[in-house]
Amino acid sequence: EAGVVQSPRYKIIEKKQPVAFWCNPISGHNTLYWYRQNLGQGPELLIRYENEEAVDDSQLPKDRFSAERLKGVDSTLKIQPAELGDSAVYLCASSFPSTADTQYFGPGTRLTVL
């Protein structure tokens, strides 16, 4: 069974530039999550989707971050414009919708903003 797929794996951009990350969840997983992991810390949730609906985006900095999951499968997370402090690993995870279900993570995208 294929796991969560993310691309790109690495991205280096200048500050004020836009950047986008793509995620393809495990087949059949209705719930999709985007996390940000700063160096030496645990992941922090940015947004959670149930199918195509964003049901928890309270931690998403909406002035510069946006996300979409138009058909309830793949998802894209965008930052525009990027700031130096956005340098981090962006992780995508997916699961079935129950609270007890395990979240499975992709390999992440390491973003460096110069």
Partner: protein, 114 residues
């Protein structure tokens, strides 16, 4: 608000010796508890979880964890450590009272020396 504490930034153990990685949590209601491992430049890999039932949970690669409700702990253990167990370990908690939000600890680096 729910939270997770991993009091040790790093745990050092000799190969073949037992290991323990500590985790305590704070949550409203019954907790769902998870352990993940992260190898360099990789996403988080699920090890085990406690939802209900037996307090001792067995997971992947010989790891196990014990849920202790009175001490609000969920320590990760392995009877005999391998050098290949060296990685970053994250404890996480989720509560039905907080929807599907998974809160991670800050991580503990496990170093197993030959």
């Amino acid at each position: 608000a729910q939270s997770v504490a991993q009091p040790e930034d790093q745990v050092n153990v000799a190969e073949g010796n037992p290991l323990t990685v500590k985790c305590t949590y704070s949550v409203s209601g019954n907790p769902y508890l998870f352990w993940y491992v992260q190898y360099p430049n990789r996403g988080l890999q699920f090890l085990l979880k406690y939802i209900t039932g037996d307090n001792l949970v067995k997971g992947s690669y010989g790891f196990e964890a014990e849920f202790n409700k009175s001490q609000t702990s969920f320590h990760l253990k392995k009877p005999s450590a391998l050098v290949s167990d060296s990685a970053l370990y994250f404890c996480a908690v989720r509560s039905p009272n907080a929807g599907n939000m998974l809160t991670f600890g800050g991580g503990t680096r496990l170093m197993v020396k030959p």
